[in-house]
Symmetry: D2
Subunit: 412 residues, 4 copies
């Protein structure tokens, strides 16, 4: 990619963050509704800090920071860079304001563009880091949406991020399992193109024959699980999952609530009825696993998912479509809804691939140090950018997490 | 007070809340930095809810609420009125925005003025409730300041509410104890004038002879306590106080921090050096009690304070002076700094006076139900309005509270 | 008291602790069922530590401790003596065993007797401390019973400390209020006889006229409160009490449980039906206060209680009677059940009397440092020793405590 | 195995539990020093409950339970059987006493023997369940030791379970890595012999070539890690591990403490100096992983371990040797210390093997429901019975667990 293309791509992705900011009031950008959630202002500033820290400070000679306190305030978890303002206290900060954060963004963007227009010797290295920064920004764009959804859901007024129509679908097509043969396969990233270090190296795995559902589990199907006492039967749950059901009082996916007997769900478009044909969303790994056990099947491994997905078209309901909701499965045959609706829980704990080596330096903290007590999710959601996704992409969350757009694909 | 006077007073006090809002950004008005703190927006809306609930809904015929959801969102603790949005979650709400809250204020104010201009039959009763509402608003004006101070103190950037100069004072006058004789005395409110129900009835108490310090304890004196190991010597502390020192890691008053060997304190004017001659502020009852024990004396009872204060002029460094900081004692003789610098911890637990009866109805929840595990404070602080204070006024906080403008007067 | 009398009294009181140990198995003596509860072994050792620390180490020349580790293990809260093994971890210790603790007791007792038989010069001082130690032992005898009751109550097998018959009483006599005139009175201890420092000095208080109930509130009366929704009506409760009701799920006094529609209570004799005529027991201050408010009256102050009780006979259902349960009121007229049934909550926060001075030295930590967030109780319970009680005695517990034998007398 | 052999084996294993009880006092058998620990009495009763519930109630016609309350009290986590007394409250029970539990054991043993002497029709099925019960008892024998070690470690008196001499070893042999080639391998249990359901089925895995250390990491080597700031360098730790280091204040393996500058460790023989040549023990997965990263290598996968171990002799320092401590590596060449010293952390999350199916019925809750947020450990420790171990055995604990005999073998 030439510098000009890189600059345009940089500006476009940076601009998209501010597009997402559009519908929000300054007050909305302050709240941290739980420790996992970060305020919108923080996302906007942290992604900027990323470019300032890893690009400008390294490659722009004589660079002087926009505000020295930002190094501490907007460092997320890079111990190599320095101390961090505690994550759980991000919601206690009202300054810098939204406007000041936007000024920070502009100041950094100007300097990055200047750097690209007048590239230093290490431009190849810098371009690689910049690419990481852009994927990082896209990850935080998704988090801006999932986090503001959680924030708004705490308000009994049910504020909407945006007004839109719910998708219509009378029914989902019959679920079918596609069969795949056993064999020694290869998964992981190789070749050109961007990938995070956790997708490397490409390596051999032996897979028994397996079957994969041709679409996602729907809300209607999940309602059957609820109505069959799914949340009251410990035999369906992992032990840690059952503990969570009881301590948290789970009775349905996150954002579902009964109103006068009918199930509604809170969405970025406000509160609206649950639509049976839509993919179920905002379920934890525990719920996905319990559902699969109830259905007499199981969740796929990440290798099964990747081998299946590798030839398929990466298209779907990505965030650029402005739908911000997983779409019901269409009538086409084949494996559907692999990309762009919900992140699909796999049964694979998030671990290092054989031969994995973390990136050198601070960016080595990006992925590797989280390889514990998390599960891999695949596919990308309706809040993900299309240019951010690929078949080898490994997302990961702890088994109790529900505030991401996470759903269920079955295997057996 | 005639209706016109009441209207003017109403508008003036209501306006002062918005004056206090002046220096803040919308983002500042969202944060709840600990459960005791409420966001600025909440204070502005809750005081408005008070007039809407107890005046407009009762006395304005055909009144229709500005927004039905506000009844739940902005009810603080009146079970008689209905359910309340949980106090500890006030910081999770970003809506209504500051602007929407100001619109709410204006809508209610217009209707209250209309009511006063065209008074109903029960105007005498309504005027009494309105008077409670105005004192209530003044209490929340003080809380707006103490709460935003706490919010700003959580930000490593040390934002200032307002820029101002620290008071100058080379030294405090020598502390002297004034002596008062034993005798059967009367305390509590009687006669015209406003008072909360907890100041009633006037009643007899027998006091042994006592001595009261003629000024407040200074920062310089408190530094001697610190330097003498005050925070490390359990024998100086109540058992519960010592537990708090250890679990919270107290080493100085709230908002004090060492910078390169010198003590600084965070104020509404930003961070600045501790001034030896100023009254010590932001100490808990536990610290006040430990200081007194270290000094070989004790704290006064509320009866001792009231008997002493009853004839003194109510003047001082009240919030209208815009100082927002307790002033050093002047050189005049007599009992100084009784009013308008810091709330003075007394050794009296907050209990009902003999013959106390809570107000009928929802307003009976205002004071009486908090008569447990709190101590009485007297005098009013530099964040209090002068028209809000009187000798019989009983403020109360739990012994560990430090975020109010609280200080120490000694007795023996 | 001559040394011989003192020796006999010492041995009798020490022996009574071991009498109370009688019905227990070694396993019973280990458990700490909540932080407030101490294991039986700990009580037996701590009271012994008291004599070793404050008598033997001070007055027996050349004394060498039985086991040096006991100084740390069995110090309760005397910072002046040294560090303490953390209170909340007492239940983690299995050693020293019951037998070893009894050996410790015997070793200390032998030396104390030797000291009394061959008294040192400071015998008068030592006798005073010994007297404190004996009252201290009697306090812990009561705690042994209240604590093992709590321990056993956690076991679904409902073990009994002792088998006994419940008291029979068809009904309680009609409750009547006795009237007392206003006046300047005196309360507090003076003269010979033993008293703790917190009962000093005798001092004047002015009392308005008051009325005191001639008997305790019964279980039958308290059931009416429950049946009238007492635990579901926030307007009856102090704010902190209502928070406790909700967070703890209180629906009845501690140890009450419904079995097939009927209320039972767990007692030291095992589980048995609630008897309507018995005094209600194991209620917190919050419940006592809410009951009084429901009944349209109030709780007495400690001064009202003491003035009333001072001339009455100190007799009742004390622990030596082996009843271990409050007795129903008899048919005699006058003020009944003042002593020996339940500790009676007063509305008086536990504070220093005017002129109070804590004992010098470590024993000054006995009472004074707890004067915060506690309420005074009067009268002594069926688990108290008769020789331990007097009209000026001030017991104190936090308002949420329920595991003591605490009940309700009304006033107005 | 014929019934007589089975009976003898049953009696021998059951007897061994009581042998382990030998050195303990009744008081020792009550304490639960943390939620993971169970009181000795509970282990003795629960293993008996297992035989009563799954053998006697099913296969002994007309069986009447020894005590109906035990079904609830001693059910660990079998929801299929019924409700369970809460795990975290096991230490609140003092009854049944040790003696009563031993009576319970005897009563059940007599009936099991009677059943085996007069076998029912379903004897083959019953024998299978009995075999599970015996391995279950052996697991709890190990837990009795690890749990009492933790209990004793909470006592500042450092009680010893048994007095014994520490092993002598001047130095450990040079650590060497053995190399193994890549290839498609098989792991998991097949054929006769006992195995838990989680070892099934035998299945293919592809392994890259790997190297495995020929002995365990020693205390001396681990001290180098400590001295090199291992516990202070976040870059060495998984993110969740670093959080644990900070919140728990870890500075060394569990049970290590400095005394006058020298490292000591608390053992079942009491407190004694750390011996450099011994395998390091009582480290969490987080510490094992951080150590490996510091050493520039990694932990093995469970497949690597099993492929390596499958041909090796199962002999070592098992509990029957009475050493109760991992032994230093000997001078023989080859892979050493695979069995019977410490459980070896692998990097493999505990998940289902491909094709795994949980046992039908309540025993299906034995293993499968714990397949979340745990890591596999291999090899067996000095507290394990030799007859309990085999190459395919999969032990599992959460990554923060340290109270088991867990250590480190390196791979690369």
């Amino acid at each position: 990619m030439c510098n000009r293309e890189l600059r345009d791509r940089y500006l476009a992705i940076r601009q998209f963050s501010e597009t997402l900011l559009g519908p929000l009031q300054p007050e909305d950008c302050v709240v941290q509704s739980m420790p996992d959630v970060s305020p919108t202002r923080w996302h906007l500033a942290h992604t900027t800090w990323f470019f300032e820290t890893f690009i400008l400070k390294r490659y722009l000679s004589g660079y002087s920071p926009v505000d020295p306190s930002y190094e501490y305030l907007f460092n997320s978890y890079y111990n190599t860079v320095g101390e961090q303002f505690p994550r759980s206290r991000r919601g206690l900060l009202s300054r810098p304001t939204v406007r000041e954060v936007c000024d920070y963004r502009q100041a950094v963007d100007e300097r990055v563009v200047r750097l690209l227009d007048d590239p230093p010797q290490e431009i190849a290295e810098a371009a690689g880091v910049l690419e990481v920064g852009l994927h990082h920004e896209q990850q935080h764009q998704e988090l801006m949406l999932t986090d503001i959804k959680h924030v708004f859901s705490c308000n009994p007024q049910n504020p909407a991020y945006r007004r839109g129509k719910p998708p219509h679908a009378d029914s989902a097509p019959q679920l079918r399992f596609q069969r795949y043969d056993e064999g020694l396969q290869q998964i992981g990233h190789a070749g050109q193109g961007f990938a995070f270090d956790n997708e490397l190296p490409k390596h051999r795995v032996f897979l028994e024959s397996y079957q994969l559902a041709d679409r996602l589990v729907t809300c209607g199907e999940f309602l059957e699980f609820i109505d069959d006492g799914g949340y009251k039967r410990p035999e369906l749950w992992l032990s840690a999952g059952w503990a969570e059901v009881q301590s948290q009082g789970w009775q349905a996916p996150l954002y579902w609530q009964r109103q006068e007997g009918d199930w509604h769900q809170f969405t970025l478009n406000g509160l609206r009825p649950v639509v049976a044909a839509e993919p179920v969303c905002h379920v934890s790994y525990f719920e996905a696993d319990a559902y699969a056990r109830w259905a007499g099947v199981r969740l796929p491994t990440e290798a099964e998912w990747e081998i299946t997905a590798v030839g398929e078209q990466i298209e779907g309901n990505f965030v650029e479509s402005e739908a911000l909701h997983p779409r019901p499965a269409g009538e086409d045959s084949g494996i559907r809804q692999l990309y762009g609706d919900v992140w699909e829980w796999t049964s694979s704990p998030y671990t290092a691939y054989p031969g994995y080596a973390a990136t050198e330096g601070a960016l080595g903290e990006y992925n590797g140090k989280f390889m514990c007590n998390q599960l891999v999710l695949r596919g990308g959601s309706c809040a993900t950018s299309q240019s951010h996704i690929r078949p080898t992409y490994r997302n990961f969350f702890p088994p109790e997490a529900r505030w991401q757009f996470t759903g269920i694909r079955l295997a057996k």
